[in-house]
């Protein structure tokens, strides 16, 4: 792959720039800038062999030629110890397999914090690629009475420098000019190519002085807000209020949206069904594909809402304060406040949560967080919880209009998952993953208004990923399940459900799950939900939809015939603890780079789920007798 390290003038166009890498430290506003430049024209990709994810997006240069922008992970330096930084170095040196060496680099720095961030610029410029240095957040710099002489800085660095604002779009024409100019490698006069962080840092201060850099004052609002949000009394109270508000919003705003989507899907299904003639094909399309995938798609509003709320907390800067408040509590279970952010995300989905553990430097802490994340009540459990609770628990107010019995049951399940996560963390941190206290080092960004465009792009990203899963894995399972319920055929007719293949599977595992109060239909649901939790709904829908005894499509009614109350409680507990998600297992395998951790996690969670469901079944049975 070393051939990429040499320049390839013959492949370059007149402008010379086809592929541009974008690098910058965390909190430099790099992602906002990147989104501003590429908009929706970007996709997520993984570098081969490593866990680091990156975006590739496209923009046009002034000659209307397509330029690919590679968004590299947020890094502080090019220290090859961390995986993120090693990936960045390899891409910039053209050593990343399957990726040509970029023709140029854009370094995004936070102009509010220039002296610290110039260290990264020095390291990147020293690599010898044509480089553009963008000093982002120019609007904040000006507002807070900071200043920098861009031309003097450009002279010191030997590269073009521009003061820009990703929020307002100010100065971004510099990027287009850079892409169209025939870029030449920088000619740094005295860049500290080698040298300790300390000496590079001293160089950065000197350069800052030469460029008359005046650091802006801390925004007064950040100080005022921190006086409240990190207050010893108000801080924790607001923290709790925020978490409660997040959940309230998911349920209060999410449910009506979900009903609207459900109505739309039902209507479309009925219309398609009316066009098709009666027969196997119609059965496959309506009962297999549409109902199967549709039962999962309806949860899109709730998932997007949760990602929206977490996104707002993250972009506004509150999430970092929440981590500070959570740190004391997290340290009691042997983790630190940084685990709080991934664990909070795990309430949406364990997959991005496990990816978010990369911010945890300590490897043992990181693995412990990965292992407990799936205990957090992810959104895929919501449909199961909602359905079972609605079927078995009558809605009555508990605390006036604020809390109903159903909401209380839901809250209880959230608490249950959380407690099991804490319990597991304690065990892990005092046994196999014992380590000295990991350092808690967290940068506190100033408070900012979240940008709708930036939030929107992330939601599109998540929504696509979710629908992709619904459209592939879950649809495939729906079709397999449909086939299993409609075969073996007798005289060209589908069999009665009790004679189908799926019944055989359900009956085969029935002895194992009978002690938990489950019948063979639930058994089939458990088998299919191994792929993803929410699939059990589709399965039970299919199973009951074609069950002659149950003419109604109302799943809740059907469930009440299948399960007793203790069985329902056991089912809820089982779902709270079991690892029924192939995507999570796959991402754990990727992030830990071994099959051992996902295998151990799967075994542990299955045992915990089985034993707890067994206990729940018998305890509930004892009390209602």
């Amino acid at each position: 792959m070393t051939c990429h390290a040499v320049a390839r003038p013959e492949e370059q166009n007149a402008a010379g720039v086809r592929t541009v890498a974008v690098v910058g430290p965390p909190n430099s506003g790099k992602t906002t800038l990147y989104n501003r430049l590429t908009g929706l024209r970007q996709k997520v990709a993984n570098f081969p062999g490593v866990t680091v994810e990156h975006h590739v997006g496209y923009m046009r240069n002034p000659l209307s030629e397509e330029v690919a922008l590679i968004d590299l992970p947020g890094i502080y330096s090019l220290h090859p110890k961390s995986e993120d930084e090693r990936v960045a170095v390899e891409v910039l040196q053209g050593k990343m397999p399957g990726m040509p060496r970029p023709d140029a680099v854009i370094v995004v720095l936070n102009s509010n914090n220039l002296n610290t961030h110039l260290v990264l610029a020095a390291r990147v410029i020293a690599l010898g690629l044509p480089t553009l240095v963008l000093l982002n957040m120019a609007d904040e710099l000006k507002r807070q009475k900071g200043a920098v002489d861009v031309l003097a800085l450009a002279r010191e660095l030997g590269t073009p420098v521009a003061l820009v604002s990703a929020t307002t779009g100010e100065g971004l024409e510099a990027v287009r000019n850079f892409l169209s100019a025939t870029s030449s490698p920088p000619e740094p006069l005295e860049l500290p190519v080698v040298g300790s962080t300390r000496s590079v840092r001293e160089w950065a201060v000197r350069v800052g002085e030469t460029a008359n850099y005046r650091r802006p004052a801390t925004p007064v609002w950040t100080k005022r807000l921190d006086n409240i949000f990190l207050h010893r009394v108000w801080g924790p109270l607001i923290f709790l209020a925020v978490i409660v508000a997040v959940f309230q919003m998911i349920f209060v705003a999410g449910k009506p949206l979900q009903d609207i989507l459900q109505g739309f899907l039902d209507a479309t299904g009925a219309r398609v069904g009316a066009i098709l003639s009666d027969g196997m094909l119609r059965s496959l399309i309506i009962n297999g594909v549409w109902k199967g995938a549709g039962s999962v798609v309806v949860f899109l509003p709730q998932i997007l809402l949760l990602f929206l709320v977490i996104g707002i907390l993250e972009d506004s800067g509150y999430l970092a304060r929440a981590a500070v408040i959570a740190d004391r509590t997290m340290s009691r279970v042997g983790l630190n406040g940084k685990s709080f952010i991934p664990l909070l995300s795990a309430y949406a989905c364990a997959v991005p949560a496990i990816m978010a553990t990369r911010t945890i430097e300590n490897k043992r802490d990181r693995i412990a967080t990965i292992l407990i994340a799936p205990f957090m009540t992810c959104s895929a459990r919501l449909p199961v919880y909602t359905m079972v609770i609605a079927a078995f628990i009558p809605g009555r107010p508990v605390l006036g209009p604020f809390l109903s019995t159903r909401a209380a049951a839901m809250l209880g399940l959230y608490v249950l998952g959380f407690l099991m996560a804490v319990f597991t963390a304690r065990i892990l941190k005092s046994t196999i993953l014992r380590s000295k206290d990991a350092p808690f080092i967290l940068e506190m960004p100033p408070y900012r208004w979240p940008m709708p465009a930036s939030l929107g792009l992330r939601l599109v990203d998540r929504g696509k990923a979710f629908l992709y899963r619904a459209g592939t894995v879950i649809m495939l399972i729906s079709i397999v399940l449909w086939a299993a319920t409609n075969f073996p055929m007798h005289n060209g007719q589908p069999p009665a459900i009790q004679d189908s293949w799926v019944a055989s599977v359900g009956h085969a595992i029935e002895p194992v799950i009978r002690p938990l109060g489950f019948d063979w239909k639930i058994g089939v649901g458990l088998v299919t939900s191994l792929a993803a939790r929410e699939v059990i709904i589709a399965t039970l829908g299919t199973l009951n939809g074609i069950d002659a005894e149950v003419h109604s499509f109302d799943l809740q009614m059907a469930l009440r015939q299948e399960l007793t109350l203790p069985g329902a409680v056991a089912l809820l507990v089982f779902f709270a603890f079991a690892m029924q998600c192939m995507s999570t297992l796959a991402v754990v395998r990727r992030e830990t780079n071994s099959w051992t951790w996902p295998a151990a996690q799967f075994a542990y969670m299955t045992v915990v789920a089985y034993v707890s469901a067994y206990a729940a079944y018998h305890i509930t049975g004892y009390f209602i007798r």
């Binding site: 502080y76 936070n110 740190d327 940068e443």
Partner: protein, 98 residues
């Protein structure tokens, strides 16, 4: 890491040196040395905890731990445990305001 810090609180004003953990909220110090593992020290330096730079204690989190420090333009939250290993020399008296 079984480093027993010798600059106790009582001697701080006499010697002008101490641990970051010993500074009160509002006090400032010059970073002298990071007595930490290389990778942790490197990370702290990337955030601005470079020997020679001034660090101030901005505020303390609920319960007194972690605390938020400011180095140049960056605010960073650190646990007290870690800030015991960051050696600083005290600057002037407590700063009022900023």
């Amino acid at each position: 890491m079984i480093f027993n810090f010798i600059f106790g609180r009582r001697h701080r004003h006499a010697q002008g040196n101490g641990a970051l953990a010993d500074l009160q909220v509002g006090e400032r110090g010059i970073v002298r040395e990071l007595r930490l593992d290389h990778s942790i020290a490197e990370h702290l330096m990337n955030l601005g905890f470079v020997p020679g730079l001034e660090v101030s204690v901005e505020r303390s989190g609920p319960g007194g731990d972690p605390r938020v420090y400011r180095v140049e333009g960056t605010e960073v939250a650190l646990r007290r445990e870690l800030s015991r290993y960051i050696e600083v020399s005290l600057v002037g008296a407590a700063a009022f305001g900023d």
